[in-house]
Assembly symmetry: C2
Homo-oligomer: 362 residues x 2
């Protein structure tokens, strides 16, 4: 077992900790701080269940008289109302009450849906994130954003709802398919240009170690990512301002996902490519130089991510970005790198956005 | 215009005021404190739209460049995901952003759905309650409970989400059908036995004035109801304890609604009958005497409400009540009158509940 690292999210009475390490999932001690309840519900998917559901059951079995389970289809294409409703059906069919603890065991899609179900069932029940993908460990399980997609836009329906605890077992990353692992690296890389250039240097120096899933490298990447996210979320839980910088690459990325149909590209792949587009935009806005844009693009490519966008056509990109949550009164908002290690949210002239799309797509 | 009364809900940075009076709906001044935004969305239903939508549009038209509208089918039977989704569709089709203000114009069903849509759209947009039924003015528009129904239980999926403002225009009560008006009186009567015996005395003395919709009587009933609700919600926003007393009559009432199919009985009718059952239970538990139970039942009857429950059979009642949100580990919880003017939440032996159902149903 590698040394365990804990990261705290400081949100007053909604504070919680993120445990990061090897061998955590099967350890009852890890879950010892959770409230007592008659029942728990594990929300997982068809891919993760055979790998890790029994391990989690063994760890929490002594705490709850009944441990129910709902197994969702795998993939972003299923992050919709119909699948969410399968969670409500399971809760109600098992007469789960307000104290029932929901465990999200899986990647970002499972976490988003289990979290929104927990936020909404009886107007809120306790929940725990047990992320099993790199993307979920470094980003989506932390900070309380939950949502489902709408055909017209990603994450359009959801809630800010904090978990009681996040348990990141690094061992689960060893079963992740290469495409999914790379998708997670996109969100790791993200933290460099927006907040921490030393971390970007470290990722560049360690990307091969990460790609071969070296435990010490993974531990550092997950911990530092969670620290940066915790710092940002602690200052701006509900995204009144600062928190929006965590969406670097996401305005373009969400358009790619919605435009191709959810699930065609993985979220992290779309974000990786979206970061290439965003750094191109930043460079054309004059805030970073060409060398920095090239450097970031090169790292994204080394992480096994796409660096050219699908040829949806600029009109379609712009139409999709106009309904992004960050848009205001029809003006598309982009996270732009002001200077290496600093980001802000701003609009950009349509013509410039079209130039960026022309340079980075197809 | 009758004198305007304001009641404040004190919830820290989520505090707001309830304005109560005649002629408020068409007055732009009433809405002067709302935040600026590019767009507003009025959520209403097919019954209320022809009566009041234009008046609200006139009042808020100068504040928003665009005022969109979504018109839902009328009735509790439509308080489901499908109808909720019609609100999301309207928001997205009109490219509504995070600052869009949602106005709920209608009764409890419209308020619950518009409120949950506001809580969930882009993880939360501002909203305003403009209740046009007595039930919504005295109860459901105040306190931030929003929800939709699930086939297995009422209000099972929702959020605690406070409005920015509640505007109770007493004039709208004059177009309310008698059945709906009586249903609202159930929630007015409720406040007496749980919290304020002087108010119960006043209702008994003024029930005929209320039934003929005397403006001064309505103003007092709405104001005092809102004051009591504001006091309770201010102490326990998320129903950790005290707030549950506001559900007097609701454990039995929800079973009636779910058992008959939503919309067969109005919510307030089911609550009225549920209070008869609950006071019968209280009497059999020995906390109030027969005279008090008879007195309350008589008042409920005078308000035009049913005092005998439908013959669902005791097994079905009990099955439905076991999935009520207040149930814990399968134990049904009832709001019981401890003494006139005081209530608490407790369990009761199944045999006693069966006796109550036998005495009050069919």
């Amino acid at each position: 077992m590698s040394p365990r690292a804990d990261v705290s999210i400081d949100l007053g009475d909604r504070s919680y900790s993120i445990q990061i390490g090897s061998g955590l999932l099967g350890s009852p001690d890890i879950f010892a701080g959770l409230p007592k309840a008659g029942a728990a519900l594990i929300v997982t998917n068809t891919t993760v269940k055979p790998l890790y559901a029994q391990r989690l059951r063994d760890a929490i079995g002594a705490r709850y008289a009944k441990v129910h389970e709902v197994v969702l289809p795998d993939g972003e294409a299923h992050k919709n109302w119909e699948t969410l409703n399968a969670i409500f059906d399971a809760l109600l069919a098992n007469a789960c009450d307000r104290k029932t603890v929901i465990f999200a065991l899986g990647g970002g899609v499972v976490g988003d849906m289990a979290g929104f179900a927990a936020a909404s069932y009886m107007r809120g029940v306790p929940f725990v994130q047990v992320p099993t993908t790199l993307l979920a460990q470094v980003d989506s399980s932390v900070g309380g954003k939950t949502a489902i997609n709408h055909p017209l836009g990603k994450n359009m329906i959801g809630a800010f709802y904090q978990p009681l605890q996040v348990v990141c077992d690094l061992d689960t990353l060893h079963t992740l398919p290469p495409r999914e692992f790379s998708a997670g690296l996109a969100e790791v890389i993200k933290y460099g240009p927006i907040a921490d250039m030393a971390f970007l240097d470290w990722i560049e120096a360690n990307v091969e170690a990460l790609m071969r899933r070296d435990t010490a490298a993974l531990a550092h990447a997950v911990r530092r990512s969670c620290e940066i996210k915790a710092h940002v979320v602690g200052q701006d839980e509900r995204e009144a301002g600062l928190r929006a910088i965590l969406n670097f690459g996401h305005t373009f990325g969400h358009a790619i996902e919605a435009g191709l149909g959810y699930g065609e590209w993985l979220h992290g792949e779309a974000v990786g490519c979206g970061m290439v587009m965003s750094i191109e935009l930043s460079q054309r806005l004059g805030t970073v130089d060409r060398a920095f844009a090239t450097r970031l693009t090169r790292l994204i490519e080394r992480a096994g991510l796409p660096v050219r966008g699908p040829a949806l056509g600029p009109d379609r990109y712009i139409e999709l970005m106009r309904v992004d949550k960050k848009a205001e009164a029809g003006e598309i908002k982009f996270v732009v790198i002001d200077a290496p290690g600093h980001a802000s949210v701003r609009g950009a002239p349509d013509a410039l956005v079209r130039d960026v799309l022309a340079a980075t797509c197809g």
